[in-house]
């Protein structure tokens, strides 16, 4: 998968205050979630990528184009939905979106057609001739999404797209984002405070903390890795069972008299555990697949500082169990 965004020692300073501190990394997901607490630098990173703030040092590339030297080419390939209300008053929505399409380089004759299509796509088809300032908050958010996608950008940057939306409108927004993601015609960079939004839409996350990268994980891989982590509660003399599990090639750790945690390797099935338990006269009273939710990953990133992809699955799980904040899913066995 080609890299969408590459960060190369990217630093941004406002006055004497550093906002982004030597960010490094490559993001290649179909939908990248940008997470972090308030003031972590999420919006500043987006603004820097769009060329609103010049980097103090380092640079970034979007689809291989440098944000400082090829700023216009970069912006031609990007669609941006800002966080706050952004529109032109007393202009009908279709004209507003058309203007934005023309500014992006679409000829006037095609721009109107694209504006209609974009507004129908986001669900504002019936209201497209109304002035944007007469719209409700949810409709304004959808209008902002329409102007961000009207020129068919390769990367769509969404800054808090579900801010202030009621549940049905939020579901609609999430569904539109997923639809765009699944269409495969555009990559998405989604900045949000709402972990649920990011979890539903994104396959990769970048967590920022105090202007630094606190975590950069591929959520899909993270989920797959976590599926192999199992927590067992047994009854009966377990020594033989534990040794047999170890002989299967599983890493394990005992906690208390009845509980054990193990990381299964890929060749072992759950049925093998039941067979061994039967052979050693041990009852398996409970078996949980343990997986990190995005919230766990986020919280750990906030605690630990720097987590990089691929180096954290088992460590994360261990910590989640210790802290007792991991979400335990019943394996249904």
């Amino acid at each position: 998968m080609t890299n969408v965004i590459e960060l190369e020692q990217l630093s941004v300073t406002f006055g004497k205050r550093p906002i982004l501190k030597s960010l490094n990394g490559a993001l290649g997901g179909r939908a990248i979630g940008l997470l972090g607490p308030n003031g972590a630098g999420k919006t500043s990173l987006i603004h820097t990528l769009l060329g609103f703030h010049p980097p103090t040092s380092g640079t970034a590339r979007i689809f291989g184009q440098d944000i400082t030297t090829d700023a216009k080419q970069v912006r031609a390939t990007v669609g941006y939905m800002p966080e706050s209300d952004s529109f032109i008053a007393k202009m009908s929505c279709v004209h507003f979106v058309r203007l934005m399409a023309e500014l992006s380089g679409i000829p006037a004759k095609h721009a109107l057609e694209r504006a209609h299509e974009a507004l129908f796509f986001v669900g504002l088809g019936e209201a497209r001739y109304r002035p944007v300032d007469s719209y409700s908050l949810g409709m304004k958010q959808l209008a902002k999404l329409a102007q961000a996608i009207v020129h068919g950008p390769k990367l769509i940057i969404l800054d808090e797209p579900t801010n202030g939306l009621d549940p049905p409108t939020r579901s609609r927004m999430i569904s539109l984002i997923r639809q765009i993601r699944d269409g495969g015609r555009a990559r998405i960079l989604l900045s949000s405070h709402l972990l649920r939004d990011v979890e539903e839409c994104c396959d990769e996350i970048l967590v920022l903390k105090d202007g630094r990268i606190a975590a950069n994980c591929n959520l899909e891989e993270e989920r797959k890795a976590n599926r192999k982590f199992i927590e067992l509660e047994t009854r009966g003399e377990r020594q033989g069972f534990v040794e047999a599990v170890g002989n299967l090639g599983c890493e394990y750790a005992l906690s208390g008299e009845r509980r054990m945690k193990l990381i299964m390797n890929e060749t072992i099935e759950i049925g093998d555990l039941y067979r061994l338990a039967h052979e050693h006269a041990v009852q398996i009273r409970r078996l949980n697949f343990k997986r990190d939710s995005l919230e766990d990953i986020f919280l750990k990133a906030m605690e630990n500082g720097n987590i990089t992809e691929g180096a954290n699955s088992s460590i994360n799980n261990e910590k989640a169990v210790e802290n007792g904040n991991g979400r335990a899913n019943d394996g249904g066995l």
Binding site: I88, K90, E102, G125
Partner: protein
């Protein structure tokens, strides 16, 4: 992306050139501007004086018409530098009224609704955005100032012959540059005010205030201190000096009064005081400084997001 499918799709058609993209801003702004009937009416009224001037030029060269109207050619205004200076001053005054109506919402409308990030996240620089907005004022004011001025000049030249044209060729530059200095000053000033004030009415009021308040204040200074230096803070008086200079009609001493003066030489004596206009270079400097301040303000205010220190 098709309406019937309601699906997202990339755009794969042709793209506009950078110039076409740049022209999108003035095109939309002009369309919005002429939605106002008041502005359209005033815009039309701006052409009354050029029409009168054209008729005057025509009458100068048409003995039959003069005879019919029973007017002696000596009773008409002579077609010379002062004729075109008056024309430039009249049309520039109309240009100011147009600017007050057209310019204030140009940037303030985008700023009040936070639309600047939407413009600037596209392949459009801040300078292009400002120039695009400025071109609306430049275009409209050009239509009512130097374009009719030059048309009347060439009309006169066509009637008066080559000798007149050759003798007055320098006036082309005077008409064009005199109007353009005013147009650039007004458009920069109006856009700077528009970027500072988010409400259109307040922006219009501020623009009028910037024009009239310093003028009144300058006159008070002139009267109190028996000087003409107060003209330096009056945009109109400063521009009048520049226009007069461009048309070769600038006179420094515009009056003489008797007043009591106390200096190391005179001890409350009654003397003749010459009222001297500020030198021309000072007037040019004042205009250049105002333009520089406006550009600086625009550079500070026209940003996708303001960084608060």
């Amino acid at each position: 992306m098709a309406v019937y499918e309601h699906l997202y799709g990339a755009y794969e058609g042709e793209s506009q050139s950078a110039l076409s993209r740049f022209l999108v801003i003035p095109r939309y702004a002009l369309r919005e501007t002429f939605k106002s009937k008041l502005l359209t009416t005033i815009f039309i009224l701006c052409f009354i004086y050029p029409l009168v001037a054209t008729i005057l030029v025509y009458l100068h060269h048409n003995a039959n018409a003069l005879a019919l109207l029973q007017i002696n050619v000596r009773e008409l205004l002579p077609i010379d530098a002062s004729f075109f200076l008056t024309f430039v001053q009249m049309q520039c005054a109309f240009g100011f009224i147009l600017t007050v109506l057209v310019a204030p919402p140009l940037i303030s409308r985008d700023m009040s609704n936070n639309a600047l990030p939407l413009y600037l996240c596209r392949p459009l620089s801040r300078a292009e955005y400002v120039l695009g907005k400025m071109s609306v004022v430049v275009f409209l004011l050009s239509l009512v100032t130097w374009i009719p001025g030059l048309l009347i000049f060439f009309f006169q030249a066509s009637l008066a012959g080559f000798a007149w044209l050759w003798a007055n060729l320098w006036m082309i530059q005077a008409i064009f540059s005199g109007c353009m200095v005013w147009i650039i000053l007004l458009s920069l000033l109006a856009l700077a005010v528009s970027s500072l004030v988010k409400w259109r009415v307040v922006a219009s009021g501020a623009l009028l205030g910037l024009f009239f308040v310093p003028t009144a204040f300058g006159e008070i200074i002139n009267e109190l201190f028996l000087t003409r230096s107060g003209h330096l803070i009056s945009l109109w008086a400063t521009m009048k000096s520049i226009w007069s200079g461009l048309f070769g009609l600038f006179v420094r001493q515009t009056g003489q009064i008797r007043g009591r003066v106390t200096t190391p030489i005179y001890d409350n004596e009654l003397v003749d005081i010459a009222l001297l206009e500020p030198p021309l270079w000072v007037s040019w400097l004042v205009i250049a400084l105002i333009c520089a301040v406006c550009v600086w303000l625009l550079a500070r205010k026209v940003r996708a997001y303001e960084v608060i220190k």
